[in-house]
């Protein structure tokens, strides 16, 4: 396969690094969660790409079709999406509580307040 033929994997790597970089570098708690989402989305695309077959059809027995895409990675990713949504919801709920307690969602500001305790 050519390098261009693997373009979805290049997108996976690009998204993965972008998301990971946002999680590490951003000091804003909400932006970190957005970064985490991008990071997870890249893994979803990775799994889906693995299961897809060029020219493959939906995995239902049909006359005259011999190539089917593998449904298993797609089903797995449905589960992973649910996990991702729950993580995001919980993370954002924590951010709401943190904002109530500190009146800020900036990491630097929160650290400053805790040190002055």
């Amino acid at each position: 396969m050519t390098i261009a033929g693997l373009y979805n994997y290049w997108i996976v790597i690009l998204l993965m690094m972008t998301g990971f970089y946002v999680v590490i570098s951003s000091g804003n708690l909400v932006k970190k969660i957005i970064g985490l989402n991008v990071f997870q989305a890249s893994v979803f695309i990775l799994y889906i790409s693995v299961g897809k077959m060029a020219g493959g059809r939906v995995p239902i027995l049909q006359e005259g079709v011999s190539d089917y895409s593998n449904p298993l990675p797609h089903v797995l990713i449905l589960t992973a999406i649910v996990v991702g949504v729950s993580t995001t919801a919980l993370g954002l709920a924590l951010v709401v509580r943190i904002r109530e307690a500190y009146d800020s969602v900036e990491e630097v500001e929160i650290h400053r307040q805790d040190e002055s305790l």
Binding site: L29, Q40, V43, T79, V83, G91, L94, R97, I98, D114
Partner: protein, 492 residues
Amino acid sequence: MISAQLPALQVVVPLIAAALCLVLSRPLAAWTLTFLASAAAMVVSFLLLGAVMDSGTIDYAFGGWAAPFGIAYRVDLVNAYVLMIVSTISTVVSVFARASVASEIEKHNQGFFYTAWLLCLTGLLGIAITGDAFNLFVFLEISSLSSYVLIAMGSDRRALTAAYQYLIMGTIGATFILIGVGLLYALTGTLNMQDLAERLPDVSGTRTARTGFAFLTVGLGLKIALLPLHLWLPNAYAYAPSAVSAFLAATATKVAVYVLLRFVFSVFGVEFALGAMPLAIGLAILGAIAVLSASTVAIFQENLKRMLAYSSVAQIGYLALGISLATPAGLTATILHLFNHALMKGALFVALGCIAWRIGSSRLQDFAGLGYRMPWTMGVFVVGGLSLIGIPLTAGFISKWYLVLAALEKGWWPIIVVIIAGSLLAVLYVWKVVERAYLAKPPEDATRAEAPPSMLIPAWLLAIANLYFGFQTHLSVGVATRAAAELFGIAP
């Protein structure tokens, strides 16, 4: 008939109890349910351990769907042992939790608290019992998400930031594991661990296999809190409610270590994981640094829960050292220390919970004269501390002894030096507390008053277990040796 369904019951009982708990929501009812479900899980885990010891590995096809298509549960000695640790600790600590939670968590949140507890238990048991790599990821997330909730319920506002930090790092770790599992699936077309183990040797030279292995180990390193990936742990254990600190410190990282053992020994195989890949040397170096640096940091902590948390990071270093030796003896030491560390950290955190219940603080400055004000509780702390140091006739001594023997057998002298230095550092931080509690004058208005029996009894159960397994090693060492032999694939 019912005994054939034990592997399913192990996970399903706490899961259904969690749902019921949410419906009941009244504190007393929720607690009773949590205790009963934990106790039921404990009984099941003992029955499973007995069955595995008598008649070997149990395979269970969930829903009657055979392995390559359905999800298989597979119970061998190693995970029966881990199931036993997790469910026993949950039962003992849940007895303690009743009074502790009542004083630390608002009434309308207690139902949610116990729901999250049961979900966390479900997740940890599920991780240990499953034979399917993706199923493991799902259970990992169940236990992680519920532990973020449990930690965030701490009364200090820093519990929120600690839970947030853990959520970010834990999710990165879990996603790394997901990537690793995905790459292995792409390579072999299976998620079943046994099938993976059969098909991986043929493709172990490929870059995909190596990348998958790297993602899995780094992701697990985050969950295990192996230095330098431990940053989430100290705050999470320091600001979580007392009962949660005791429960998680004794179980969560242990289960993650079990997963590492499972992937290194059962799925990838020793030759690839510790031979072809540089994991052994990495674990040895990081483990040694963890033992020395985390023990040193622990000495300077004013908040004793934080001190114990750093000590946990150091103990994980010992576990990593045991794995890095890549011999059955080293592995025996690691498996043994999983159990003994659960006992000592359980006892210590429960003792701190009793003290927090009584004086509302876990700061060293408030400990003056506590040896006279709460003699029974401090007794537990001293026993746990001695075990942590590794004084003979305590459980901690046994695991360190086996680790030293394993290192001797391999001729790795620096590791022995590290173990002894780590124990000496542990003497320092445990002595610091003992000195303040027994030699400093109590404040004028202090009275002698103990924690209630519902907290003291579990504390003493754990303390006595620390002493019992210090001289009666037949059960713990026997199972650990056989489990290690099984992981290495040699007949005991």
